[in-house]
């Protein structure tokens, strides 16, 4: 069976399904090809279920501290299996939600693995589908292990997030390799469910892409609650036995052995560019393995576009979603607002949360920018004191000359929600003055943003 569409999208993850909806809204007949569940990694084995588990972890933490708030919850028992089941229901609901959106927008969903063919065609099994206008590649990424040092993912003792999300019970001990967002979040989850967690990061600090102050705040917070944090560490070798793994870790000039029930690999992702017919269609990849795209997201093969993780970093769902909107508008002949890749918020949903946008202070220094850092700690914020979320701070990096918000970094409760004020500000080129001039409700955690802006101007009020 061969069918024709205006736009065919390979991959129904966040980039792909948003592209499909926008494409349909623009009046183009649209098909999405998905080999697994709609929603991709994000909905099924990424963003969404981890957020459910993190909330379970948060409840456990709250209940343990509840007595101080006048609520005695007795001894708190946790069950990872139950939390996991709940997270599965949340994922399934979301995936069904995407299915519903496809139906609502009259997007054809083709189940199966698609392979690109020249002439804007995609082969799925024995069927060939042809795109009149464009083929959009949105095949996403997957976790990767480190087979060269003996840490190939075996799904029992050496696992990835894919397996961690389906465990029936929390392991007694867990070594997490990689302290980016994924490693940080699982450390938070399993620690709350009673696992003795060791967090190992190769770079000198955890959350290496975040501002150094954020890394320090989280390292302090994690250590306080009993998570072992080893940064600047090199895992030299991993030996996997039936029910344990022995790691040889070199850190601070010494090599030590770590025995653990399981190892969770959270060190990077590989993009899905294999076996989808890229070379046959003339779609080239970069040295780093991403699909090469021009500013209009078109690949080296005319009529073939790429969005989301395969199209390059940052590998974030919301970046892919925006590309999904932009690429379909371009294909439809519209002139969308250019994507500002330097204005993509980055969020880690561990506790306390870490959210940032723009440059870190170190990047400001590297670029020799004249800047002023404005800071405000949540320990000085009334709302945060009330809720007991006094960990963390807001930090605003202000360009000394023009007041541009070069970067903003938030560590604290609800940081993931608070950051968007600064995303809007940066998108519209507001300076710190406009942020401060907007009246912030009192008492809110968001007030800390206004105060940090004021601090960068040398006139903080509440501190």
């Amino acid at each position: 069976m061969a069918s024709q569409f205006d736009v065919i999208i390979l991959g129904g993850g966040p980039a792909g399904y948003v592209a499909a909806i926008r494409s349909a809204q623009l009046g183009m007949s649209t098909a999405v090809i998905e080999r697994d569940k709609l929603g991709g990694v994000c909905v099924n084995i990424g963003c969404i279920p981890t957020k459910a588990l993190l909330h379970s972890a948060y409840i456990a933490k709250l209940l343990r501290e509840a007595k101080e708030f006048g609520v005695d919850a007795g001894s708190v028992k946790t069950d990872y299996g139950v939390a996991m089941q709940r997270s599965r229901r949340v994922s399934d609901q979301n995936s069904k939600g995407v299915e519903f959106l496809m139906k609502k927008n009259k997007v054809t969903v083709v189940k199966g693995s698609g392979v690109l063919q020249p002439g804007r065609k995609v082969k799925v099994g024995s069927d060939v589908h042809e795109a009149r206008k464009a083929v959009i590649i949105a095949t996403g990424s997957r976790v990767k292990g480190l087979p060269q040092i003996g840490l190939e993912i075996n799904k029992t003792t050496v696992i990835s997030s894919d397996e961690a999300l389906f465990l029936e019970k929390a392991p007694a001990t867990l070594a997490i390799i990689g302290a980016g967002a994924v490693g940080m979040e699982f450390a938070d989850i399993f620690s709350a469910f009673g696992t003795q967690v060791t967090l190992i990061e190769a770079l000198p600090r955890i959350l290496p892409l975040e501002d150094a102050e954020a890394s320090d705040a989280l390292a302090k917070s994690y250590k306080k609650r009993g998570i072992e944090v080893i940064a600047g560490a090199k895992v030299k070798k991993g030996t996997s036995a039936k029910d344990k793994v022995t790691l040889e870790v070199e850190a601070n000039g010494a090599t030590r052995k770590i025995e653990t029930t399981a190892v969770l690999m959270a060190a990077g992702r590989a993009v899905n560019v294999e076996d989808i017919g890229l070379a046959e269609c003339g779609v080239q990849v970069t040295e780093r393995g991403f699909i090469k795209v021009d500013p209009g997201l078109q690949t080296t093969a005319p009529g073939y576009y790429a969005i989301g993780d395969v199209a390059g970093p940052p590998m974030l769902a919301h970046k892919g979603m925006r590309e999904g909107v932009t690429v379909t508008e371009l294909i439809a002949g519209k002139k969308p607002h250019a994507i500002k890749y330097d204005n993509v918020p980055s969020v880690t949903y561990c506790h306390p949360e870490v959210a940032s946008i723009g440059l870190t202070e170190d990047q400001c220094k590297e670029r020799k920018l004249e800047y002023v850092a404005g800071r405000f700690p949540f320990s000085a914020n009334g709302r945060a004191r009330g809720t007991g979320e006094t960990e963390g701070f807001v930090k605003v990096l202000r360009d000394k000359q023009y007041g541009e918000i070069l970067g903003a970094h938030i560590v604290g409760g609800h940081a993931s929600e608070i950051i968007h004020e600064l995303a809007v500000a940066r998108e519209n080129e507001y300076t710190v003055e406009e942020v401060e001039l907007a009246i912030h409700a009192h008492p809110t955690m968001s007030e800390a943003v206004a105060q940090a802006a004021l601090d960068s101007l040398g006139r903080v009020v509440d501190m």
């Binding site: 023009y402 541009e404 080129e429 507001y430 300076t431 003055e433 006139r459």
Partner: protein, 419 residues
């Protein structure tokens, strides 16, 4: 330097009323400034101490330049002084750093709105950068949402100024010091029939503001009395020579001169197109012809390049076709400028209504003999009044006047048409 009139582009400081170190209050007269129209008071927009006078008496600076710095009393006067070309009066902030007034607090921000007669859509950051670098945002074409000027546009403008950007693909931002895309530059022959120049901020503002003042097209009128003695002599001589081969009318001469003068003033040979101005390189003259139930303007194409006899023949044919209602659409569309002649009705002078989207029209009155003082003697001369109606969105007063002067010179000395 505030824009003290909507058309003011620069101002000359005539006299300072306050000296450095004087306390000033918002509303105090700081200086007298001579604008394009009159000498006016430049008043302080904030309370404080006149910390620095940046422009000497007698000096002329563009609108938007810093003329003085008002500081908060008690603040040390040190720190950086705004560059002389920075547009908005700076005010010392509590932080000790010189900060421009707009972003600090609502009061001075209001003053800045007042200081700038033409509103510009720009991001706060772009405004700040423009303030500190002395870029006039009115001259920058915005690429942000809704044509908003954003940081990138200023960076582009800066690079252009340094000659770093030279691609056809670059957005048409205009460097701060450069004049408006100069329509006065001579038309290129043999190239494109026209050139679309995007509206700059100031053009957009002029368009918006003036359009609300006098109907959809903001007309203004320029009248000049032309001595037609030599033109009459030349015409008589030509007609004697032509004999039976045809006749040259005054109208033909006026159309030819109108067209030729336009080749020297491309700024007037233009169409207003809402978001851009189309400056024509071709000159097609619309000729208003009264018909039974109204008026139509058939077109004499490329009138600047046609011989007088051809213009005359075409004009008669078109007028005849108009009266007998045989004009084809091609005969009455596409004119770039028009002429309306009521001389035959003994009208001394009148104002014609512009034929949109054109930007101008010449209204021609009757040629009459008048006593004129020449070389100290009163002598009879044949004189004619011409009135140019201008669309102020496209043509400014001086632009129209310059064109009218050329036209007058050509008519008064027909040999000038050969220049």
């Amino acid at each position: 330097m505030e824009a003290l009139s909507p058309t003011m582009e620069e101002g000359r400081v005539v006299k300072w009323h306050k000296r450095e170190g004087d306390a000033v209050k918002a509303g105090d007269t700081l200086a007298e400034v001579e604008t394009d129209k009159a000498v006016m008071d430049l008043v302080a927009r904030a309370d404080g101490v006149l910390r620095q006078v940046a422009v000497a008496e007698g000096q002329t600076v563009p609108v938007g330049s810093v003329v003085a710095v008002i500081a908060v009393p008690g603040e040390s006067g040190g720190g950086q002084t705004a560059p002389a070309s920075a547009p908005v009066p700076a005010v010392k902030g509590e932080g000790g750093q010189a900060r421009p007034a707009p972003a600090r607090s609502p009061a001075p921000a209001a003053a800045v709105v007042a200081a700038d007669a033409t509103r510009v859509k720009a991001s706060p950051l772009a405004k700040r950068i423009a303030t500190e670098t002395g870029v006039d945002l009115k001259l920058v074409t915005g690429s942000g949402p809704g044509g908003r000027v954003v940081k990138r546009d200023l960076e582009e403008a800066g690079r252009r100024e340094k000659g770093e950007v030279r691609g056809a693909a670059a957005p048409p931002a205009v460097p701060p010091q450069a004049p408006l895309p100069s329509p006065i530059s001579p038309a290129l022959r043999g190239g494109a029939p026209y050139e679309d120049v995007p509206l700059t901020q100031i053009r957009k503002t002029i368009a918006k503001r003036l359009a609300t003042s006098l109907g959809p097209i903001p007309h203004f009128f320029l009248t000049s009395e032309v001595d037609m003695e030599r033109a009459a002599e030349a015409r008589d001589a030509l007609n004697r020579q032509l004999g039976d081969r045809g006749k040259v009318s005054f109208n033909d001469v006026i159309i030819k001169a109108t067209a030729l003068a336009l080749t020297k003033h491309r700024a007037c040979n233009a169409w207003f197109q809402d978001d851009h101005i189309r400056y024509w390189n071709d000159v097609h003259i619309g000729m208003a012809v009264a018909v039974d139930d109204g008026l139509i303007t058939p077109v004499i194409r490329d009138a600047d390049r046609k011989a007088l006899l051809d213009i005359g023949r075409e004009a008669r044919e078109l007028a005849e076709k108009a009266r007998s209602r045989r004009l084809q659409p091609n005969d009455y569309t596409g004119s770039t400028f028009s002429v309306s002649n009521l001389g035959m009705f003994d009208i001394d002078q009148f104002t014609a209504v512009i034929n949109p989207p054109e930007a101008g029209i010449i209204a021609v009155g009757a040629i009459t003999s008048k006593p004129v003082v020449a070389d100290g003697q009163i002598v009879p001369r044949r004189r004619m009044r011409i009135t140019m109606s201008c669309d102020h969105r496209v043509i400014d007063g001086a632009t129209g006047a310059a064109y009218l002067k050329t036209l007058k010179e050509m008519l008064e000395n027909p040999l000038a048409m050969l220049l």
